[in-house]
Structure formats: C-alpha cells, structure tokens
Symmetry: C2
Subunit: 575 residues, 2 copies
Amino acid sequence: MIWTLAAGGLDPAAMTALLLSLAVLLGLARLLGEVATRFRQPAVLGEILAGILLGPTFFAAISPEAYAWLFPAEGPVRIGLDAFVVVSVCLLMVVAGLEVDLSSVWRQGKVAAFVSTTGVLIPFVLGAGLALLMPRALGMDPSAAPVPFALFVGIAMSITALPVIARILIDLNMLKSDLGMLIMSAAMVNDLGGWMGFALLLATIHGQGGDGLIVTLVGTLLFVGLALTAGRWLAHRSLPYIQAHSSWPGGVLGFVLTIALLASAFTEWLGIHAIFGAFIAGVAIGDSRHLRERTRETIHQFITNIFAPLFFASIGLRVNFVASFDLPLVLIVLVIAVVGKVVGCYLGAVWAGLSRKESWAVGFGMSARGAMEIILAQLALDAGLVTERLFVAIVVMALVTSLIAGPMMQKLLQRPIQRSLAELLSEKQILLNLQATTVRQAIAELAARAGTLLANLDVERIDREVWQREQIMSTGIGRGLAVPHARLPEIKKSTIVVGRSERGIDFDATDGKPARLIFLLLTPQDDQTSQIEMLRLIAVTFDSAETHQRALEAQSATEFLAALRVGHGESPHQV
Amino acid sequence: MIWTLAAGGLDPAAMTALLLSLAVLLGLARLLGEVATRFRQPAVLGEILAGILLGPTFFAAISPEAYAWLFPAEGPVRIGLDAFVVVSVCLLMVVAGLEVDLSSVWRQGKVAAFVSTTGVLIPFVLGAGLALLMPRALGMDPSAAPVPFALFVGIAMSITALPVIARILIDLNMLKSDLGMLIMSAAMVNDLGGWMGFALLLATIHGQGGDGLIVTLVGTLLFVGLALTAGRWLAHRSLPYIQAHSSWPGGVLGFVLTIALLASAFTEWLGIHAIFGAFIAGVAIGDSRHLRERTRETIHQFITNIFAPLFFASIGLRVNFVASFDLPLVLIVLVIAVVGKVVGCYLGAVWAGLSRKESWAVGFGMSARGAMEIILAQLALDAGLVTERLFVAIVVMALVTSLIAGPMMQKLLQRPIQRSLAELLSEKQILLNLQATTVRQAIAELAARAGTLLANLDVERIDREVWQREQIMSTGIGRGLAVPHARLPEIKKSTIVVGRSERGIDFDATDGKPARLIFLLLTPQDDQTSQIEMLRLIAVTFDSAETHQRALEAQSATEFLAALRVGHGESPHQV
C-alpha cells in the first residue's frame, strides 16, 4: 500500500497544523490587504504586514511554542507550506507574464525603447557602481563575493512593477492613453530585461565550476528564445483548438497552468529559479489574442486573491523585520532606487520628445517596484546574495516606491482618480425607504439627510437649490433612475445621497417610468467634472440588470452597497 | 535565518520533482478528463484513468526509477504532493457543500423526505447486513473488526453524488423542474446524512478508548449543529458586509476559502477528517442568497478544473488497479449498490405519489455515486477500514453507477439531451467564405456541403427542399442571422451547416440587415423538437455580442468553433 496518509505523507497532526497555518495566513493577509486597499494603498502592503504579525517579528516573540507548532522551521508542515508558497509565487509570475503584451511593445517603438533603456541602465549603473565602491554601506556580508553582489544590487535597482503601474494607470483612467501605453510598454521591456539579467546572475552563481555554468547559461537563453518565438506561436495556434474542442474555460485554464508548471520545473532544473519558467510561459501564452478576457479574469481573480496573499504573507514569515530594520541602509537603498529610476526614465522620455511634466510622471510611475522587487529580494535571500538587513531594506523600498508612484503621477498629470459608485457611498448616504410620494417631497427628504452629513450647510439651502434646478428641467433619466442635483459654493467635496422609493416617484422621465432610485448629487460650484463623472458612474453601474435588481431588493444599506460592487474584470489588487 | 528554502524546506531537486509531478498529474488528468467529456462521460473517469496510467498500475511498472523520482513514497516531494491533494479534496468538498441548498430542501418537504429516507435506509441495511453476514465475500480483511466494516459498507452503499446528479439534470434541462428539484433535495439530505454517519464512524474508530470518543462525537455534533444554524446565519449576515466593503469578488473568495480551511483544520483536529469541515462550511455559506453567481462560478471553475483533477488523479496513484481488481467483488459491490439504491428510492418516490417511470428515474439518478463515493473510499482506505481490493471495487462501482445514471434517466423520462451549438458543429460543417451573393446561391452552396456529410442524400434533394421552404417565408431572423431549413424523411440525425458571408446576403429580415451567418438546418421528418431546439440554441449563442463578434472575425473553422464556446456559469465537469 503506497501513498496512504499513514505512511510517508502527512499525518493528521501535521495536516491540522498545515490547514490551520494556511487559513491563518490567507485570512489575515486578505483582511489586511483589504484594509490597505480601503486606503487606496497596494494590497501587498497589508499582506506583508500580515506575515510580519504572524512571523518572527511579532507572533513568535509572544508565543514561541504556538509559532513553532503553526509555522515550524522544518518537518512536514514546513515542507507543505513551502510547496504552497513556491507554487503561489510561480502562479503569481504567470499572471505577471500574462500582462506583458509583446506586440504592443513593438507598436510603441522608439519612445518605449528609449525610456526602458535609460530607465534600466542608469539605475543599474548607479546601483552596481555604488555597491562596488561602498559594499559595506549597502549591507554586503563581508564574506560575500563583491561582483555578484554588485550585479544583484544593480538589477534590484533597475526592476519595475508592471502590475502596480497598470493599476495606477487604471485608477487615473490612462491605461489606454498614449502615455499609458508608452509607460506599460517600457515597463514590459524593463521587466523582461531585469528578470533575464537576474536569471543569468543566478545561473552564474549556481553553475560555478565550468560546464554547469555553460549548460545553465545556454539553456536559459535557448529556453527564453524558443519560448518567445516557437512557444508563443504554438500557444497562439493551440488556444483556438483547445477552446473549440474542450470545456470552457476549464480546458484553457488547465492548459495554461500545466504549461506554466512544466516551464517552472524546467527552469528550476536548469539551476535558475522556477519563477522564470512561469513568467516566460505567461508571456508566451498571454500574447495571444485568442486568450479570452473571461479566462484571464478567472485566472487573475483566483491567483491574485488566493495565491498572492499566501506568498506575500510568507515574506513576513521569513525574517524579523524589526531586528533587521536598519534605517540608514533603508534610506540609502530608497534614495538610490528613486533617484536612479526617476532620472533614468525622465531622461529617456525627454529625449524621446515627451513634455517635462509627462517625463517626470513616467519616471515616478516606473519607479514603483512592488511585488516584483519583493520576489527578487526573496530569491536573493535564498541564494545567499543578500543579508537579512538588506532584504528588509529592499522590501521596504519596494513598498515605499509603490506607495508614492500613484500620488506623484496624479499630481504631475493632474488627473482625477477613477472611483466606483460604491466607493463614493457609505451606509449613512443610503435611504432605503423614502416616504416621499412627490418630487418635491423626495428632494426635501434627501436634502434633510445631506444636511446631517454636511456640517456647514443647512437643509433649507440644499433643498432650495436642488428644487430650483429641478424646476428648470426634470432630472428623471429613465429606467427608474433620477438624479436631482445642485452645485454649491459652500462645499469642498462632492456628496451623494441615494433614496429608494417603494412605489416610485414620477420624475417625468422620457420612458415614463417612475423613479425608484433617486440620487441627490451635490458638487462644488467650481468643479466642472465631478457632476458629469457621477452621472456616468450611475449610468454605468445600473447598466447591469443584476446590480439594478439587487439594489432594488436590498434589505439593508449594507446590502445595497454590496449590490453596487460588481467587477468589470479589473481587479483592485495592486501587486 | 529561518524559512529559507535551503534549510528545512524544499531543496531545488525536490522543487523540480514537485512542480513536474504536479504538471504531469494536472496535464494528463485534464486531457483525459476532456476526452471523457467529449464522449459525454464524467470527467472524473478520465482523471482517475490519468492517475492509473501514472501510478503503480502502469508507469511504475514500466519505469520504477522515474516513478520513484516523480512520485516517491516518502520524503519532501511526497509530503508536498500530499499537501496539495489534501487541500484539493477539501476545496472540492467546499464546492459540493456550496451546492447543497437547505432552504430548497425545506420547501420540497414530504416527497424529498420520503425519497431520501428510503433511499438511504434500504441500501444501508442491505449493505451493512450483507457485510455482517458474508464479510469475506465483500473483501473484509480477516483481522479487521466486523462492525465498523459493516457500518462502512452500509454508508458506502447509501451515499449519492450531488454534482453528478446536478449535471445530469442540467443535461436533460430538468434542474429547475419539479422532479429535478425533488431529486436534488433528496440527494442533499442523503449526502448530509451519509457524511454525518461516516464522520461519526470515523470518530468512533479514532476516538477509541473512552473520553476521546465522547469528545469527538460531541464535538462533531456540536460543530455541525452550530455551523448549520449560527454559522449559516452569520455567513448570511457577513456576506453583504464583506461585499459592500471589500474588493469584489476577491473579498468574498478569500472569506469563503479562509472559513473552509479553518473548518477543515478543526474537524481534522477533532479526529474526523478535514473534508467534513470543508463540506459543512460550504453548506453553511452556500445557502446564502448573498453569494453571487459570479463568485460561485469563479470558485467552481478554478476548483473543478484545477484541484479536482489533481485529487482524482492522485486516486489512481494510490493502488495498483490491475493487481487489486477482483471481478467477483466488483460485481457484488455493484449489484448491492444499484439494487439497494434504485429500489430504495423507487419505493420512497412511489409512496410519495410519483409515477412509476418517474420513480425509477429518481432511483437511477440517485444511484450515481461519482466523486463523493471515491472520496469516501479513499478515507476508508487511509483509515484501514477497507482493503485495496474493496477500494478498487468501490471506485469502479462509483464510476459505473455514474455512467449509467444519465442514459437510464434519459431513457425513462424520454427527454432530449441539452447540447450547446458548438457541440453540434465540427470544422467540416463550417464554411467561412461563402461565395454566394443571393439566397438561392447560398442555399445551394450550403446544401452542397451538407450533401458531402450525409451519405444517403443527394445534394439536389436537399437544395430543392430547403429552397421550397424558403420561398414560403424568408428565414432571416435579424441581427445578421438566417436559418434556412427543411425536414427530411431520409435522415435520422439533425445536421447543421453554417456559412459565413463577407458581404452579407439579403434574407429579407425585419431589421433589414443582410445575413452574414447562415445556418442550414436539416432535421428528421418526424422529429418535432430538434428544429426548434436548434433555433433556440442559435438565438441564445448569438445573444452574446462577444461571441457574435468573434464568430464574424474567426480566421479558421477552429477559431469559429472556439468563438461559440462561451460558458454561462454551468461547468460541464461531472464530478
């Protein structure tokens, strides 16, 4: 009898600990990830914090026995957790690879090439140069070899974080703009180059001793070359066949993950790391226009919401973030990282003909390091390239650069942040049982609630302004929706109050339907765009019949809010 | 430095083997699962076959060294695989639990109660009784305790397979019919009862020795009781809150899996098995109408397409299916299983007032054992309750009952099987470049292709019949679609040929749009329903704008087929 759980595998005690540790890691990471997202910060920040709380920094200090039981340093539970963490980071790299669109890189041409070249070279030279000149200040282990260390620091400084950048561009509604496409393309070239460089560095370290090195180097180059040409072509040809002749999206899902796991096993065997195979497989497959949006989305949802939190929480488990926190080192790393990248990209962008403001924006956008840098740092830690102090400094740098990239770009380009209707509402702004039976009464009732929310405005004033506006032209927009509104000089921030009427109120809409959902929109006098933006959000949100129905049936303000949260394929997960 | 891969965890060689073994298991299982699905058989059949090919039955016999490297009996690779298999089966049970809808069980009331009571009791008594009377014939290990063995056989005979039944009902378009709802409700009660019984049996085995037993028994009952009352209420209350205040569907996804893993860890600790916790957690959460269809679907897609194949392939790895195949034992188990279940359910259904035909149909439907029985058998094998011979017999019985359930129900109820448009087409039936510019030419061109596909009919005849029908009334149905058709006494099976016209052909549709996709429908003379069904399929399929667009843009017949494969939330995966 082989393969029974009793012999050789996981015994019940280990299984209990493994399931519990996965549950705790996933649960806390998701929770803190959501908290970070609420404050419009990358989820990865909260996820790593969850790991820090559960790791040697905090939980192990409080209860060493419980920690050793849940996250042991060796034995079956540890191996089981490791297996999940490794597969998680590989899957995460598949998603990162899927986002690389080689054909759009070609289309961007010169500008992207400029930005990515200077954006990689300048931080690389700065990082590697300083690491050679003053290795101690950068936290090199005295016994380590200086050249691989310097090369690693250079690569670490030149990497960027495609998913973070994509998320920022989505937030600023710029993903499909010229500038957005340029930034994305440059970041793709940047990432591809950075990871290739790191793969070669790992190859030289692992393959030391003649023949091994050559096998690894040649193998790596051959693998990437073949995967991105023949592999890419094959994936493109296979996808329609798989889609035509297998269940959907299950067939494609299984295909993508099988190929990614195979490629991971291959690169791990080569002596570089499993994640390279996963990443390259993602790039090769993701390029095909035959990969449907829905399939991408299913992969994306599951991996970013389940596997990514597991991996990032495991980062916090690795080291003691307090004991290994070295402020001077953190600051040095941060300064080199920001200066090198921002200046490098700025120069490339200016030379390529972009305006100065745009060029700075490109620089700050590309300086976001996010998850990619953290994965790199973890591999370097495992390979013995960096000390724990430098590891912590790089993780902090990755988080800080990701935090500042969005606000800096927004400030430089002066673009409003895109929000969803649900984000603009809270339970207090929702009145589920309007008593009103006429337009006049409805406005009064909504104005009364708005008055309690806006301290510096009295109810009368709001009511009067909105009613005056309503008399000029009715605001029923059909399909049971109405949007009475006013611009007021007294308020600084737009406010919505929504009321639901059981019977409906006749807002004189062109389709003749009484309004059952009435949105009172109050915007600052001098703000031209907010009102239009809110109208657009209302229209888009209630375009979904399911959302509309659920909003009408919601039994509490919370349920009403829940009804409005419908994804359109873009995940708010900022890795 | 704790937690680095170098110390205590997975070394590169183990990681390579683990990633490769996962890739091979997943890839082959998905592939054979798809092949099974093509023949309208449960995917689990192909998935188990993949495991048998990769396991001791075949692969180990051919290349023992490679087998020992890829699927070792102990060590880190084995533990890593075990960890994935355990988590996979837990997640699979979450999905099974999500499908149990307690509130619909209440609504079904008396009939469901009758069917599930007799449907559980009669096979249980039959199985347990025979196991007590002739334990040797049922393959009991002579050294085993007879009472637990008999109880297990009874439970194994009384379990049913909710997902298989749901799939059959979907295929027959009966899921939402009265009879369908009744069968589903009875199967839910059945499963809940069966699993509870097995949990208690495991509890008595593991807790032997006084106090332990009481703790486990009381713990199990308390857990189930609390989870299905307070837990269910809490989940229902939390879901809108989570949905309102977290990213969607990521927040809910993380919540569901965290709760399921916590519950799994708890029941594993209790001394029953992790899967019970996952199942009960699924039942508690799945009952809430706040769990959105899209969230369910994402969970379902990923788990049935990735984790389920991994688990079922691992079943094949467990034992040598050829060496342990004992034909008399397989036949005995099969006969008891089918007779007990079919007669039991038939009696309950007849007493509750159903017609005889319907009652037999209920019996055969409920006799499908599928994945649930296989999970049960695997636990029993691990617990030492059954020998490998009986394990193999039960697995075969589970597969055979699942295979016959669909055809038997279809025959008894005489319902057509629902197919998708893509399933009715192959590349040969697709003409991407119609040369025709008139209706007359288009019909001639499509009829010519139909003639090559239908051996016993000549082209002239098809052409004439369709053209005659077309002259009575035009078949342009708008939105660029046309459906010329004819009923022919010579053909036995409906046939479609589809042609795409670059310019469009005027089929005199009410919306005035020229037809770009023209479906020639040929159906048997005496078959009243096929034509209507095909018209419905065409309308439903092209209701999706994405599908329509992709079909118009497809560059090959394969791409055209791929475009038609759009899921509407129902997975063809028959676990």
